[in-house]
């Protein structure tokens, strides 16, 4: 497949990376097998459709309610957390967020950071930022650790190393850690456990993400299965949580449905092994836990999405990954094809606000709008509708105001002119009929090569008579025979 397009021009685009991914048979198998199993797990976790749909509706309501008073909730969260002894910081950009984290580490003369899984820290490229400042920032989630060890980025937001199989992990451990190769997954995990335990012990600062920030009680809730999140937030003397401003919910009870939706949609689990609710630093008489807890609230384009009522729905997301598990495009091309932190359908709708639509101009188009994502999203984000909207923003002419940063980069007067012609054709019956007449008469002349279409198909030949023609003849015949009788 790859020889059809000059790859050189395309490696920097979604399409170019997709070509590479599609050619990698191992990668495709890894994803297909994994996504099939994740889809099945989710289906099994929601045996009752009524229950599931009711809960999704509630999830949607809770997030919408929170967003409808987001600034107030953020202030309430800040006040409550401060009361609980947590330091709250605000950052508009990832640069600012990194600087805040770095300042905290520096103030403790820290040199080692251990990180629980956090997509926001991926957004910040925190590891690189700190490494440049001689601070080691180690991933402790097994999947993240594997990916970091190989100098890669996660390919899935829940299962970062899903693109690798055990043999690839074994080779990696062998090369980087000097251990013997093994096909035993348990053995591989134990290697990770031993290596990382030492790091937890030594770390000066622990960094984590947040799944839900509860305004009512000033609580940061984290879910995980491994225990690395608990390690990162309990063992080092300082805990820094980083999160997007959309993660706040009003009440503790809101968590009950959201948690259930999250863990069942993500991995089909009734609940994760650990649900970790942190409401403050170690108290004077307590024997463990960090002495300092910080929360960094990151905007990074979210307020841009928030400004538009339709696009605001993007911020409902609870990062369960179900949309990518069910996406036929993601399944085939994998997470790295998206070239950004968030892959899959959620990546397509959220990334433009973070990096600008002009940086990911193909994102909205790389979808057949099949709707599988919207159907499974636990908080009912109308993902296909938002993709359609982003396509609109993409082709807006320069003299219309841009709603999304970097909008209008796909504007082309030629394409617009074509659609204008299409419009003329379809709004003027005489023109349309002329077109039908020509197409049906000249069908035989359809060229064999119709660009991209004929890469996968033969050229479609119009029928010799259109339905307009056939129907007219048929209905007239009916009428005459009817009149006769």
């Amino acid at each position: 497949m790859s020889q059809r397009i000059p790859v050189k021009e395309l490696t920097d685009s979604f399409r170019g990376r997709a070509v590479g991914a599609l050619a990698d048979a191992q990668l495709r198998t890894n994803f297909r097998v994994a996504m099939d199993s994740l889809m099945k797990k989710r289906a099994d976790a929601f045996p009752d459709e009524e229950e599931r749909e009711g809960l999704r509706e509630l999830g949607n309501h809770i997030k919408a309610r929170a967003l409808s008073r987001l600034p107030d909730l953020l202030e309430q969260l800040e006040a409550k957390l401060t009361e609980n002894g947590v330091h709250v910081h605000w950052a508009e950009t990832t640069e600012e967020a990194n600087r805040i984290v770095h300042t905290i580490i520096e103030s403790k003369q820290g040199s080692q950071v251990v990180k629980g899984k956090s997509m926001v820290s991926e957004e910040m490229e925190m590891n690189d930022y700190l490494a440049e400042r001689d601070i080691e920032c180690l991933e402790s989630d097994m999947g993240e650790y594997i990916v970091q060890l190989d100098g890669e980025k996660p390919s899935h937001i829940i299962m970062p190393a899903i693109h690798k199989n055990r043999r690839q992990v074994s080779k990696l451990f062998h090369n980087k850690l000097g251990v013997d190769e093994t096909d035993d997954v348990n053995e591989l995990i134990q290697i990770g456990r031993r290596t990382l335990r030492k790091k937890f012990l030594e770390a000066d600062v622990g960094v984590s993400g947040v799944n839900f920030a509860i305004a009512e009680t000033g609580t940061l809730l984290l879910v995980e299965n491994e225990g690395n999140g608990r390690m990162s937030t309990t063992v080092p003397p300082v805990h820094v949580a980083v999160t997007g401003i959309e993660k706040v919910v009003a009440n503790l009870r809101d968590v009950a449905p959201l948690l259930s939706l999250l863990t069942r949609s993500a991995l089909g689990q009734p609940i994760t092994t650990y649900v970790n609710m942190i409401s403050g630093p170690r108290k004077a008489d307590e024997l463990d836990g960090p002495e300092e807890v910080h929360l960094v609230l990151l905007d990074n384009g979210r307020s841009g999405a928030f400004a538009d009522a339709q696009l605001r729905q993007t911020l409902n997301c609870i990062r369960c990954g179900a949309c990518m598990n069910h996406c036929p495009v993601y399944t085939r091309v994998g997470g790295h094809t998206y070239g950004e932190v968030y892959p899959g359908p959620i990546g397509k709708i959220v990334t433009p606000h973070m990096v600008g639509l002009d940086h990911v101009p193909d994102h909205p188009s790389a979808s057949s709008l099949c709707g599988a994502c919207g159907e499974v999203c636990p908080v009912k984000i109308p993902i296909p509708e938002l993709l359609q909207r982003l396509r609109q923003e993409n082709v807006k002419s320069p003299d219309e105001p841009a709603v999304v940063q970097g909008g209008g980069s796909k504007y082309s007067w030629k394409e617009r002119a074509l659609w204008r012609m299409w419009m003329a054709l379809n709004t003027r019956p005489t023109l349309y009929k002329c077109f039908l007449w020509a197409a049906t008469r000249l069908g035989k002349l359809t060229p064999k090569n119709l660009g991209p279409w004929t890469e996968n198909h033969t050229a479609p030949v119009p029928a010799r008579r259109s339905l307009h023609d056939l129907a007219k003849a048929h209905l007239n015949a009916e009428k005459t025979s009817g009149d006769r009788s």
Partner: protein, 223 residues
């Protein structure tokens, strides 16, 4: 202007002229599907926890220290971390003295900084209480405090948890209500639903990722 002010200003501008959505929380959605008859409640908890490799025993309240000792003996473990300031901690210590048990009791009675290495590498097992359990999801509620610190349920490869049969609730929502969580949460409230695990390699389940490899729950029936 600070980042905070900028962010809040942008958000407020986005909402200009609109009203907050009403609270339409329908609690039946998180309670009704998850209700159990009293006799089924513990069974549900048990079977859910067992599917994720938790060992569950139901026993008369008085017998648990002996059971703990038996668990350690069977596994040939050398020591047990416990919380001396708790009721069950004292009970355990008394039993240990009386039975002249050979496993070493390690009291978590000083700040982690003073014995981090030992806690990390040399403790075989721990025992903690629970603040109840949730049948719907098969979860223990742990409410660590100054007497029973957070890491007790995380660092040792074996974690034994005591659960009163009468403190098993149907679902998370009911648990929050009954214990009135919003009124005051501990530094670190935990739901624990099995031993630590991961499926990050090929989705193959492996236990003992970073936390305990084994979780044993002793359900204590009231006398």
């Amino acid at each position: 202007m600070s980042a905070r002010d900028n962010i809040l200003k942008k958000l407020r501008a986005g909402l200009e002229g609109s009203t907050p959505r009403p609270d339409q929380f329908d609690e039946t959605l998180v309670t009704e599907p998850w209700q159990y008859a009293p006799e089924d409640r513990i069974q549900r908890l048990r079977s859910l926890m067992e599917t994720v490799h938790t060992e569950v025993y139901t026993l008369a309240a008085a017998n648990w220290p002996a059971k703990v000792q038996e668990l350690l003996e069977n596994r040939r473990l050398a020591n047990l971390l416990y919380a001396p300031g708790t009721g069950h901690g004292q009970q355990l210590a008394e039993f240990w003295a009386e039975a002249a048990a050979e496993q070493n009791l390690l009291a978590y009675d000083r700040p982690i900084e003073e014995w981090k290495e030992e806690l990390f590498w040399q403790v075989d097992a721990s025992i903690t209480g629970t603040a109840g359990a949730i049948a719907a999801t098969g979860s223990l509620v742990l409410w660590p405090d100054r007497h029973e610190p957070r890491l007790m349920s995380l660092l040792p490869p074996l974690h034994i948890a005591l659960l009163k049969a009468s403190e098993v609730e149907d679902n998370l929502y009911v648990m929050m209500e009954k214990q009135n969580w919003p009124a005051g949460l501990p530094t670190n409230l935990l739901l624990v639903s099995g031993p630590s695990k991961t499926a990050d390699i090929e989705q193959v389940l492996a236990y003992g990722a970073h936390g305990p490899k084994e979780l044993v729950v002793l359900i204590l029936e009231d006398a």
